[in-house]
């Protein structure tokens, strides 16, 4: 069982601005992406309250609902969520404890970065850490002051389009995804021909998908499936020069550090989102 009361108690004991301790947030490693977890997710991306996650980016003038909105009904299509000055553009899917997120945030201070994680306590850890870092660092001391980074609990294999509109993202990271070695579990993999269409939907043309793993087979699987997808093309060699986030990804995730300590190999691949073909 996750979070027995004393663990929870200890989590709550910390002072504002104090960093959360990982040991109080550990959770069993594997979650089934197919079962109906008690997930919360917005009906549609417009219903998502991003203000809770990026309070510094809430627009000061509240959005007015157009009176003559032809779609507005009694139930309303005004979801009552604050308007934001920026949208999330970078997503770390299966972000774990968020190492990559916190390394990226100061390097892209103008960009909203979001981790998506299916495990509840791991998500909470990342959220707490973001809050603590915001208290500890002002935008003057660290670019962006960690105001541009947050994390939500989500099963991305099912609910990505509930959070992001078409072409909203410029980057997706898939770092050390669960390998699902077993042959019959391939539909459980975070990369598949059919799921890649959903990544293509949320990533804008010219945007990139980054993958990294220490399991060679999984690397080959991800490369094969992205290359086989007409919306993606692998980026290699020179074209990767100057892509600073690539370096950050290779060194900053928790799993990546473990692999490094154990002297393992890290397999990296980058793909770009192509334009949709013209209608036939």
């Amino acid at each position: 069982m996750a979070g027995p009361p004393n663990k929870r108690q200890k989590r709550d004991d910390k002072q504002e601005g104090q960093m959360p301790q990982k040991k109080f947030y550990r959770q069993r490693a594997h979650a089934n992406p197919f079962s109906d977890h008690d997930l919360t997710y917005p009906e549609t991306p417009e219903a998502m309250n991003w203000g809770d996650h990026y309070p510094s980016y809430v627009a000061t003038v509240p959005a007015a609902v157009p009176k003559d909105d032809p779609v507005a009904t009694e139930d309303g299509n005004d979801y009552g969520v604050p308007r934001m000055t920026k949208q999330v553009e970078v997503a770390d899917i299966g972000c774990g404890f968020g190492g990559l997120l916190f390394a990226l945030a100061p390097k892209m201070p103008e960009t909203l970065i979001l981790g998506l994680e299916i495990r509840t306590s791991v998500t909470e850890f990342v959220q707490e850490k973001a809050k603590a870092l915001r208290v500890q660092h002002s935008p003057e001391s660290v670019p962006g002051g960690y105001q541009n980074v947050s994390c939500i609990r989500a099963n991305t294999m099912k609910f990505l389009p509930n959070f992001f509109a078409k072409a909203q993202l410029s980057k997706i990271f898939l770092c050390f995804p669960d390998p699902h070695f077993k042959a019959r579990k391939h539909k459980a993999r975070i990369v598949s021909t059919t799921l890649n269409s959903e990544y293509a939907f949320v990533v804008r043309p010219g945007g990139r998908v980054y993958t990294i793993t220490d399991v060679e087979d999984l690397h080959r699987w991800m490369v094969e499936h992205f290359e086989a997808h007409p919306s993606f093309e692998r980026v290699e060699g020179e074209e990767l020069e100057g892509d600073e986030v690539l370096k950050v990804m290779t060194t900053e995730t928790e799993e990546g550090k473990k692999v490094e300590r154990n002297g393992g190999t890290k397999y990296v691949a980058v793909f770009t989102r192509l334009e949709d073909p013209p209608w036939p």
Binding site: A2, R28, D38, E43, K158, K182, L195, S197
Partner: protein, 520 residues
């Protein structure tokens, strides 16, 4: 007990007689509706049944609980028909049986059913359609994938499938079949992955190779969710036809993809449902898509712009029938009504033409809710309005299983299992001349009723018992999610993603290979 007709469809060749195709258990009947006689009959047999997956070795062990055994038991009976559809050309009938087999029939000049092919899909199909090209079948399955198959398999493929019972086919994605999991302790560097590998090594079938499907097929698209319906939608843009595949899933999504060869492009989503979507219905001659499911309203969408035009409330209408039922049975009303929200389960959406007062043809939407003894009739002109909720509610006394239009008659298939006659109820729709001028009225179509009498004789019965019938006819309510396992936000309670329960979920997933609803 009389076995109801679980699916009905119309075959309407121009210049020829009209036929009604009706499925009763494992049988398909084709009735000449002009002559009022049964033209032909076909029955699925367990001989053609392919086992759900190639490796049955573990059947009955703890790894393969109830569901698996049920499938094997079912196989000893003739498989039931679960879907029935007719090609636009009116030349072919496609039927799906609950052993996952797609059957294609040709309808010959005299209304004979000529079985052309039987193809066993890897997962249970939940929606099927013959595309307007009269050459392609699209099939959506319980695992979330949509495949296309040629309506008529090539000769080579046919011979391979010729021997009955030899279709032991499983996953069809050839790319997956070539993936050899060769991870060893050397290639796994983290504790997490090592544990995962160990756990997965211990399971049987670790490297079980999948036999790819022996017939031609393409994977068009997929959701990581159970699919419930699929429709093919075409519209003109700049003088050119653009075709789309619209899919609905149990996780409240309606997805609009391009049709093949560009089915990898998702154009958008119609989002707004807060419960599962079970049915989609395109309104002919418009860009309107109607969706229904576990919400107490119908979604009226302008699908090319993905916009929800309105939510059309049907709660009151359904409540009405519940209240009346409660009065009859003397049950506690408040209690039944409290449950009502959960009881709104849209199980069928159809369109039917009717003549308005000026004799012009209009369209009505017909709505069936699971286990509710009535049919809602809503003129499309009302569906498009912003506020008007008025509709006609026909109390047909039994739940409506399927609807088809034949000539100017609307035929309802009813679950009259205990009442006996009246399994098919033909009626005529017309514009109301009463107070509510816009509404649609109906009357029984005695003439068609007489023609269909041949079908409702006991000779068309099939083996049935209540439980098996309920399972065959009423699966939609099971799509509803169980919510509230624990207070996640609080985090102090059990996290469902992190408990034994979840392990069971994973097992079930392996056993059934399906995105199954885990029943409480």
């Amino acid at each position: 007990m009389t076995h109801p007709f679980q699916c009905i469809a119309t075959v309407q060749l121009p210049g020829r007689d009209e036929y009604l195709a009706a499925a009763c258990g494992p049988k398909v009947f084709l009735v000449n509706a002009g002559k009022g006689e049964i033209a032909s009959e076909w029955s699925a047999s367990s001989l053609t049944t392919a086992t759900s997956n190639g490796n049955d070795d573990a059947a009955g062990t703890s790894e393969r609980p109830a569901k698996k055994q049920k499938t094997s038991n079912a196989a000893s009976h003739a498989p039931n028909i679960i879907k029935l559809t007719v090609s636009l050309s009116q030349q072919y009938i496609v039927a799906v049986t609950d052993d996952k087999v797609i059957h294609v029939f040709e309808i010959t000049g005299h209304g004979e059913l000529k079985a052309l092919s039987q193809r066993c899909m890897p997962k249970r199909p939940c929606a099927i359609q013959v595309l307007p090209d009269n050459a392609t079948i699209i099939c959506a399955d319980k695992f979330g994938d949509v495949y296309s198959l040629p309506l008529l398999p090539s000769d080579a493929a046919l011979t391979q499938n010729a021997s009955p019972g030899a279709e032991h086919v499983d996953v069809m994605k050839t790319d997956e079949a070539t993936f050899k999991p060769s991870a060893t302790n050397l290639t796994v560097h983290t504790e997490r992955n090592r544990k995962a590998l160990e756990a997965q090594m211990q399971q049987k079938n670790f490297s079980a190779k999948k036999e790819p499907l022996k017939f031609e097929h393409k994977l068009l698209l997929g959701h990581v969710s159970m699919l419930t319906d699929v429709v093919f939608a075409t519209r003109q843009v700049d003088g050119k036809q653009r075709s789309h595949i619209i899919t609905a899933d149990r996780d409240e999504h309606i997805r609009i993809s391009r049709a093949p060869p560009q089915s990898h492009v998702i154009e958008g989503y119609c989002l707004g449902h807060s419960e599962f979507v079970s049915k989609l219905c395109l309104i002919p001659g418009t860009d309107i898509l109607v969706s229904g499911g576990g919400d107490s309203w119908l979604g009226v969408w302008d699908w090319p712009s993905f916009k929800l035009r309105r939510k059309f409330d049907i709660r009151a209408a359904v409540l009405d029938t519940i209240r009346q039922d409660a009065e009859v049975s003397g049950a506690d009303k408040t209690d039944t009504i409290k449950k009502a929200d959960k009881d709104v389960v849209v199980s069928g959406l159809w369109t039917a033409p009717f003549a308005n007062a000026k004799g012009k043809q209009e369209t009505a939407l017909l709505v069936a809710c699971e286990r509710r003894p009535s049919l809602l009739i809503i003129p499309i002109s009302r569906l498009m309005l912003k506020k008007d909720e008025s509709m006609t509610q026909t109390r047909v006394g039994h739940s409506v299983l399927d609807v088809t239009c034949i000539g100017d008659s609307v035929v309802l298939s009813l679950d009259t299992r205990s009442a006996g006659p009246g399994r098919l109820q033909p009626m005529k729709l017309f514009q109301s001349s009463g107070n509510d001028k816009g509404a649609v009225d109906y009357e029984r179509d005695e003439e068609m009723d007489a023609k269909l009498k041949c079908l409702t004789k006991s000779s068309t019965d099939a083996h049935a018992d209540d439980k098996a019938l309920d399972e065959l006819l009423y699966g939609v309510a099971n799509l509803r999610k169980r919510r509230g396992w624990g207070d996640d936000a609080g985090g102090t309670q059990v996290d469902p993603s992190d408990t034994k329960r979840d392990d069971n979920g994973t097992e079930a997933m392996d056993v059934e290979d399906d995105l199954t609803v885990h029943k409480p």
